[in-house]
Symmetry: D2
Subunit: 333 residues, 4 copies
């Protein structure tokens, strides 16, 4: 039985971790209190309570907690990751703090000072389907962003196969449910502002862009990325447009995905349909589908995930399974 | 006082016509019953009832109804337009029946037989901001599709100004509220299928594509258009991507719109923001905003309308105002 | 042309006032800035701007603003109402500050100190259909709460007619859209907490209860009132249960409403249906419907309003029309 | 390994059965095709398919399917239940066909002819917490209605304890998500009719009423029940009002629930809060909370379930677990 801790367990990603880990047969969860937590909700009489401790190095050592999930904003992650590592725990960080390899890129896109710069080089980017190798032995995992997860699982195999005419540019029109913005109250994520609305934000300028460039190997000038807010709780759908080359029919593109993800339990490929958000709701799947016009080479790939599962907590547990030697799909199917 | 009739007054576009015309000081509305109407909803005691008649040539003549709105499916419009014209009325058709100039294009995209082919050549495309000229004298107006209205108001001025590098292609990622699908019950527009979902349909293959090509003067191979279903009642937002040329900053693109639409009461241009759907809800506005990266030439234009107003009933009344010599904004501001 | 000012014009009730007054032919609106305002949203190029001033007595005097709407929280209304009255303006307050006739009742239900106690006795409760008399000459109007508006329009005529067996108690199960909670960001009104949810709050203990008791003449022990949050933007529906006496069929109850509201333009009565929220959306109507079981005397009345119109801004304008001698329905039909 | 079949596996309750049974370690699911099924959705490449057969007695015998879930409309259940029983299978019917003990009650409330009247007497009402006894040995289970499940779990213990003053009447104001209406397309459950709306239906006249009377032992004249449609996918919340007697504080009512459900894994009682729908989403729990005013005896109980789980598929599996000797919570926690 592995003891793992969660900081930020009342946030959306954190409570999703709690929900999913409840089904894990080899893991015991400890909730780690932090000053940034929201107040507790009422519990029913006789409810079984998970173990609790405070999010400090001492508690972690005393509680023999071997792995910590930081489901916290980047500034809290930068504060706690060094502490937890020093206390001997391994860390999976769900924030953006450690995803970008160098301080210059971080500073440009996050426009914040990095307070744990020394860990940037050590952190392993935890997208198992595309960079599995370093994960089992990692001490610090940077769990991927939600938008880049959906984008890279679609784009990286196509870039690698050389079937995208990059000179014409790639468009990634991304739409996300509101939980991606976190649980802190804000005017722009309040119910009345979001319901019956749809809005674009961070057009061409989203901080998740460098993760896509880094993993798929695209130049910034080649990618137009727009993030948009859907009036739903959870789910990300990205509609990706490009001109294909060396491809004569839709199934050529489908085959690239089918071969690449043949042994991957969490990527599903549709032969003759495009996915929607209901299909991935509360799952760790990334669903991919393709449309193609042979006459002009216009191609569209649709990529769908649940932002709180494959885009956050589910992928974090997938990484944990790999780090701790459990079956990769444990608690996730 | 002009007497105008509405066929399909219980559908979403039709009831929007009723709602908007109630504020028109120079128009008296007659509801024209048709066999395809949904059953009536209960009315409160003492409610004022609009005049009613049946949707036949005789009623129209007898009632001296000079102009008819057909808020009906294409097949009903093809049946009724010739009848109403023969009865001496002018017609504004909100369906797709008469929008495309020739039978070959219609057959290819609508995959249906056209039963009033003779009227195709006569019909005037009623998008006042871009083709105002023929509207006042028209006998038969083809009221534009909702998606093409938002797309053409964004694209046509840019194409005309030569600032789009068409060789790299244009992407129009379009999202619509559910009312665009009409009021007839269908599984794919039922509440449980749509709520907390988002899905693409008719990818690269939507019947509104030829209207965009026709008005903006783009070749089919240059445009990638995807229609997608938002879990909201009303509103269309289109995110349009292209590589700009002969342009050095965002305001160059804004200026093109600002000049073009200077005297247009229903197109609003944002200098430094992109529009959302709340801003156009229940209005006849089309809102336009721009993002641009000077280094790479990547440009994004966001175009937003209410699909039931500027995308249907509002634009139809705008056309009616022009045809009958009323101020263009009457009942619409 | 009357000059009227709005404090709180960026809140939900305040911006509804702006929207509705834009159609009023005899009123010129001045936006009155206050330190509690949210930041401004971007405006399109060339947008017509309303006049602006600051929410102080000097501005009001200088601007010859004769009537002020306070669309502000109670504590701001208690601060500004005396100031505005002293500056010579009449005041319509949309908060709960001046609705209850005495300080003891206010203190018990609002659990706050009243800082303008001296105005409690002077304030006139502005529910025109039930207490029209004092409104035209009033200096300070307490615009009714949203829940009490729907409840009292249903209950007061029935209590007055003596057809409710009060010994068996009256249940008012009330459901409201989220805009009733105001525009300030809060966890419990954030999108992810509300969507696909439904929750009761302030069960038996809502601060709107004393308004119902006061206007309908019911004792506290006779009324069970529960407020509940609907995952919608706007609308209040109340399902009211009681045992009827001296009544033998549903139409006896309908007739009481029909007679009482015969000349009221904003109350609609259904003979054989119960209303829903779409029917009153963005209108100043209160819709009433009845179900009755003659065998047992069980009766249900459904009352529906738009909480931002008849429950706030619309009713405030109705009061303004009466105070300034305009037709009661001006800008509201 | 028990082989169980599902008829209606593409409906909302049926697909919930499929989802939940996928986690059951002792059950193998067979999908039984029926002419009333909706068309299949596209499946990803390489998806594992469940076994399929047709919904006939021969298939059931040949496939050695020992238990059948009928997730079908009442008329299909009346047709198939006798066939499946004759083929040697046990049946859990999720429709209303066999819930009411006698034909007169069925005819009055369902207003349909019963075509399998002979099975009415044999059917066992499958609400384990209140009538557990007959379930393990039953051949035909009538799985309870969604509204009655939430109502009876709240009301039966209170009625049994004698703490409700029945002479004053009981009000059950019930609200349901749209999935309760089934998956067949209908105008009144289409997205645009439901979103941003709330409506009452079957006021005082819902066919689920006799199930509440039967199980809780209430007379029809004592209960006012209203069903209402929430703009959400799933969930039922009922707000239940009564005058309490022999009770002096809220905890007296809480204690009745706490004692009664002490050993029940699926009923949760809150000491000082009322439940909401997020708390029971996708669970088999029924959550109960209480508010009480000692001065007047007014009491409110809030009962919340997921209509597709505890109100349908989850409860059906709970019944199956009892019938087949599996732990009651298998696949449900």
């Amino acid at each position: 039985m592995a003891r793992v801790g969660i900081v930020g367990f009342r946030g959306y990603s954190g409570s999703e971790l709690v929900r999913l880990l409840a089904r894990h047969p080899h893991v015991e969860t400890v909730l780690l209190d932090h000053r940034s937590d929201a107040p507790a909700a009422p519990a029913p009489l006789g409810a079984k309570q998970l173990a609790k401790a405070s999010a400090t190095g001492e508690s972690v050592k005393a509680g023999k907690i071997g792995l910590i999930f930081l489901a916290t904003p980047a500034e809290v992650s930068m504060e706690l990751a060094p502490v937890m590592l020093a206390a001997g725990a391994r860390v999976i960080d769900l924030s953006g703090a450690f995803r970008l390899g160098d301080i210059a890129t971080y500073s440009r896109w996050y426009r914040e000072t990095h307070t744990a710069e020394g860990l940037l080089a050590e952190a392993t980017y935890g997208l198992p389907e595309l960079c599995r190798e370093g994960i089992p032995g990692a001490r610090l995992i940077a769990n991927p962003g939600c938008y880049p997860t959906a984008a890279n699982l679609a784009l990286q195999p196509l870039i690698a196969a050389g079937v995208i005419d990059r000179s014409a540019g790639i468009v990634c029109d991304a739409k996300s449910g509101v939980s991606g913005a976190g649980r802190g109250p804000r005017l722009d994520t309040s119910f009345c502002e979001v319901t019956e609305n749809f809005s674009a934000y961070a057009v061409l300028d989203h901080r998740h862009v460098p993760e896509i460039l880094m993993v798929s190997g695209i130049a910034e000038a080649e990618l137009s990325f727009t993030a948009q807010l859907l009036p739903i709780h959870r789910g990300i759908l990205e509609t990706i447009y490009f001109r294909a080359r060396s491809v004569s029919k839709a199934s050529d593109l489908v085959d690239i995905f089918a071969k690449r993800y043949k042994n991957e339990p969490f990527v599903r490929v549709y032969a003759d349909a495009v996915p929607n958000l209901h299909g991935v709701d509360r799952t760790n799947f990334c669903d991919l589908g393709v449309r193609f016009d042979p006459a002009s080479g216009r191609a569209v790939v649709v990529s769908a995930i649940d932002n709180l599962v494959k885009g956050a907590a589910g992928q974090a547990i997938q990484n944990m399974n790999l780090m701790l030697g459990f079956p990769e799909t444990e608690a996730l199917l």
